[in-house]
């Protein structure tokens, strides 16, 4: 590869197309400028490249570099006269992203593995069909027919296992005769990733009706999950079918130096890359207007989930429906009227681009965000788990312990970093507000770094990590992440006033009582060695009451000490609850509103 010094990357979102320019300066890759413009997938433009060129023109104005030639194409390679770029890449989630139905034989085994494969490839799952999912056959057939996904992933049976059940799934698809969402008259792409001995009967039943692609079994044995081939096939079909049907994408594909990657797929790539590079367990969230994506890497296992109807504008009322008004009100730090609150959220739903003008309005949106983040995280934990059905050799002690297969992989005490992104987190006026929302929603345990993606450039860095991992890692570390600081949160509960922990910093002891939130000044890049001695009912990871010594790092908020208990319990009495919320806001230097 020729030397890469100037990189242009775009992310075409549903509403905004974002462009970044990366330049190699003094041997280091750094973010240089960014630009954005409205996405133009819809009428009257019906061409995604119009928005891309508008965003790139903003980059041209800000950087003084001429990137688009007279024919409206991106010039390559870069020349010495501030002209052109060496590499152009793009991601996209416009036009509804990639919508998939997955099918398997057993809901908690092959169908769950299929979900993980599809989600990992950046899809939104619109239905999970399984032989044992409790619905009647005709109900499943009707559902498959109604949904019109972009593609279907089918799995089931270990290699050498059931054939009949897979043939029945094929019959169900045949019965439904499903059509793709885009491309009138096109055949629906179906990926078969099940028992290899069922390939022929599956193909015999469906070959005339669908566009069938066969890949290796994603669950070849009970003990193994092999998601790579299915994920690669999804990506390939996404490029061949879905992207080619979307307006202007054929042209955009021809411009890029690597295929267009779906946005969540790209974010997953950068999270995996960074977790591996720094040997970390990472949790990342992107909360948008319509959907919330959650990514995690625990002990090297990557999981992505998307909660398709949890978001802060288009889907704000779905948060209301799923969480309930009481759960939202519990985070509002002043007395709020239920009818007024409900009407406000409805009005946000129908005018999704409006922004909070008053502090009250901001606090209400931030209350909703805590519930959206919590619900999406609950969903994530239910899918990020060890394989079900694996036979284990257990000791008597383990049998008595009654631990089952299929336990969640999300162990909060082992989590090193939480990264937040998406409007409500990235654009909160004060850093402490973002950190506070993440603390309430995720309730980190032990010692955890809180951070945010500065300008949501993880998608662009994700696609870059595939072709130039060094540049992606350098920009991620230096320009993408804004660290808020470590949060120290002992696990356990105690009465207000009881000692939760004592922390030794710089040779002096500070005691922290239960039910408090404290910030100790510690700036970006500053570190301290601390010894934390939890109270007798509290655990910092070494066991109840056992001390832990660690190096902690500060950030734009500082070192945060959260002794509000795990699991955290808000007072049930309204007056007391509001009083505690106001106290915690004050501890973080935040005004309350109301």
């Amino acid at each position: 590869m020729a030397e890469i010094n100037i990189i242009l990357a775009t992310d075409c979102g549903s509403t905004t197309t974002k462009a970044i320019l990366i330049e190699k300066i003094d041997g280091e890759y750094r973010l240089s400028v960014r630009g954005e413009a409205p996405t133009t997938v819809e009428a009257p433009f019906d061409d995604v490249t119009v928005g891309v060129l508008n965003a790139v023109r903003e980059i041209e104005e800000l950087s003084g570099r001429k990137i688009i030639d007279d024919g409206g194409l991106i010039m390559r390679p870069a020349s010495g006269e501030k002209t052109g770029v060496d590499l152009y890449l793009s991601t996209s989630s416009a036009g509804g992203g990639l919508q998939m139905t997955v099918a398997g034989v057993v809901k908690s085994m092959s169908a769950e593995s299929a979900q993980r494969a599809a989600l990992g490839a950046g899809a939104i799952i619109i239905d999970v069909i399984a032989v044992d999912d409790g619905r009647k056959d005709y109900e499943k057939v009707r559902r498959i027919r109604e949904l019109r996904p972009d593609m279907i992933l089918t799995s089931g049976g270990t290699d050498g296992g059931t054939v009949k059940h897979l043939a029945e799934i094929a019959e169900m698809l045949l019965a439904a005769d499903p059509k793709p969402r885009l491309g009138l008259g096109m055949k629906l792409p179906v990926i078969f990733a099940g028992n290899k001995e069922a390939r022929k009967p599956f193909m015999d039943i469906l070959k005339e009706k669908v566009d069938l692609k066969v890949v290796d079994n994603l669950r070849p044995s009970l003990e193994a999950e092999n998601l790579g081939p299915a994920r690669a096939a999804i990506h390939e079909l996404f490029l061949q079918h879905v992207m080619q049907q979307a307006p202007g994408y054929g042209k955009l594909s021809s411009w890029t130096d690597s295929g267009i990657m779906s946005t969540p797929n790209a974010v997953g790539r950068i999270i995996e890359t960074i977790a591996a590079q720094f040997s970390m367990n990472v949790l990342a969230v992107d909360i948008g207007g319509a959907t919330t994506d959650v990514f995690s890497v625990f002990d090297g296992t990557f999981t992505r989930t998307v909660s398709a109807n949890l978001g802060m504008s288009y889907s704000i009322c779905n948060v209301l429906t799923e969480a309930g008004i009481a759960n939202i009100q519990r985070w509002v730090p002043f007395d709020s009227d239920e009818t007024d609150l409900r009407n406000r959220l409805r009005n946000k739903m129908i005018r999704p681009t409006t922004i909070p003008h008053t502090l009250d309005d901001l606090r209400i949106e931030q209350a909703v965000s805590r519930e959206a983040l919590r619900l999406a995280f609950d969903h994530h934990k239910s899918l990020a788990r060890s394989l079900k059905g694996v036979q284990q050799v257990r000791t008597i002690g383990e049998i008595m312990d009654q631990s089952e297969t299929g336990q969640t992989l999300v162990k909060m005490m082992n989590l090193d970093m939480i990264i937040g992104s998406g409007g409500v987190l990235s654009h909160a006026p004060r850093a402490a507000e973002t950190a506070y929302m993440m603390m309430d929603a995720y309730q980190p345990e032990g010692i955890t770094m809180l951070a945010k993606d500065s300008i949501f450039m993880m998608p662009q860095l994700g696609v870059l990590s595939v072709v130039h991992p060094e540049a992606a890692a350098q920009v991620f570390e230096r320009d993408c992440l804004i660290k808020f600081g470590h949060v120290i949160a002992p696990v356990g509960n105690g009465k207000a006033g009881d000692a939760a922990c004592t922390i030794t910093i710089d040779g002096s002891d500070q005691a922290f009582k239960c039910g408090t939130l404290t910030v100790i000044p510690l700036g970006l890049g500053e570190t301290k060695e601390v010894t934390i001695r939890p109270g007798r009912n509290f655990d910092m990871g070494a066991g109840k009451g056992k001390p832990v010594t660690a190096k902690v790092e500060g950030g734009t908020v500082g070192l945060m000490i959260d002794t509000r208990g795990r699991p955290m319990q808000l007072p049930t009495d309204k007056k007391l609850r509001i009083s505690k919320l106001q106290e915690w806001h004050s501890s973080l230097g935040l005004e309350v509103g109301g």
Binding site: S14, T15, P38, T39, V41, E42, A94, G95, G96, D137, Y138, V141, R142, R145, K164, A167, E168, E171, M172, L174, A175, A176, D177, K179, L184, G185, P201, I205, A290, N309, Y314, S315, C317, N318, L320, T321, E322, T339, R342, N343, R344, R346, N347, M349, I350, R351, P352, T353, T354, I355, P356, H357, T358, L359, D360, D361, L362, H427, P429, R430
Partner: protein, 373 residues
């Protein structure tokens, strides 16, 4: 950020309306370019293939899957009727019989050696797409549908429920600030599009349905009353498929909000005219707003009906669409170029405005919509 404001909803006494009328699957277009169509003219039709019903034949007969072939009385492609024997076995010299009957009228599509099942496909279902508005076919999309063009008065609502309906406009309130109540609605409203003022109550909606009104248009509705009316909560604003005979269109938002004068006055001027309405709303990328279309009986002329582009300029009339000035009208008096810190603490692009009550205020540009002149 130059476009960081919400374009106003269309409220136009005369505009060119183009409606795409598309089939869900490929089919046949029944009209030609230049034809005049009425709302109930069928412009295209197709056949939706029937669902295949699976009969577990081998299991019913007690034979293995591969043995099913010896029991078959039909083959792939055969047309069968309900209760017709499609497979049977005999034992004890024909004295004991086991049989499988077709549960439906249909065509045999599948006989599986693997599962022992027989698949019978139901006949196709015909579906039609109608013109929806009175107008001229301006474009034929081969095998898919048409574009119908008409010069019309058009009002977009902010949110609605229910699908396409046709009806005569009837104003039941004295002004844009009067709520629509159930006592105002009687049997004479059958097939009509009822216009209320600031708010429609849940009871009024139920009454409108009971008299089979085609639609209800009002400024606002209280969140709880909409939920009670539908019987379920709407989590995401994607509507139009509700199984109701009366479509609802609200023009301002949730709560109780006076209908904009311009909207009310236009509706009043159209009283007695036949309107095509649709409550379908999709607030996502590719936004769809509910609509009221009243075709005018004049020929389409491109030059006269083009809508002026709406710009956020000094002197532009605006409506605030978020607290603390929600629903208030005003005029833009200043457009500071630099972002400003607003009370929430956010730094955003703002505008200066004089509200109708005389207040001078600063509002984020994202929180206003322009009202067409």
């Amino acid at each position: 950020m130059g476009t960081a404001y919400t374009p106003g909803l269309k409220v136009s006494p005369r505009t060119l309306v183009r409606k795409f009328r598309r089939l869900p699957l490929k089919g046949q277009v029944l009209v030609n370019s230049g034809d005049m169509v009425e709302p109930d003219t069928v412009v295209a039709h197709t056949q939706i293939p029937g669902v295949m019903q699976t009969v577990r034949a081998a299991q019913i007969l007690g034979v293995d899957s591969a043995g099913l072939h010896n029991a078959l009385r039909v083959g792939v492609g055969d047309v069968v009727t309900a209760s017709q024997i499609i497979a049977e076995t005999k034992s004890f010299f024909g004295l004991m019989r086991n049989e499988v009957k077709s549960p439906i009228n249909g065509t045999i599509e599948l006989i599986s050696d693997t599962t022992g099942n027989i698949g019978i496909r139901l006949p196709s279902t015909p579906i039609e797409v109608k013109g929806y508005v009175r107008g001229k076919v301006s474009e034929v999309i081969p095998d898919e549908g048409v574009v119908v063009e008409t010069e019309a008065a058009m009002i977009q609502g902010i949110f609605g429920v229910g699908g396409e309906q046709i009806g005569e406009i009837a104003i039941l309130v004295s002004g844009p600030d009067q709520p629509l109540t159930d006592s105002m609605i009687d049997a004479s409203m059958e097939g009509k599009v009822i216009v209320g003022g600031s708010n429609v109550s849940g009871a009024a909606l139920k009454k409108a349905i009971s008299v089979k009104a085609a639609g209800v248009v009002a400024g606002a509705i209280i969140d709880r009353e909409l939920i009670d009316f539908l019987g379920y909560d709407i989590g995401v604003a994607i509507t139009g498929q509700e199984d109701i005979c009366t479509s609802l269109i609200i023009t301002e938002g949730f709560g109780s909000i006076r209908m904009a004068d311009r909207t009310f006055n236009l509706l009043k001027s159209l009283e007695g005219k036949r309107a095509s309405i649709n409550g379908a709303t999709q607030i996502r990328a590719g936004v769809i707003r509910p609509e009221i279309i009243v075709p005018l009986d004049i020929a389409v002329s491109d030059d006269e009906v083009a809508d002026p582009v709406q710009y956020l300029d000094i002197g532009a009339n605006i409506r605030c669409i978020r607290e603390p000035y929600f629903g208030q009208l005003g005029t833009v008096t200043g457009l500071p170029p630099e972002p400003v810190v607003v009370p929430s603490g956010s730094t955003v692009r703002v505008l200066e405005a004089k509200l109708a009550d005389g207040q001078d205020v600063i509002v984020p540009r994202a929180n206003v919509e322009i009202i067409a002149q």
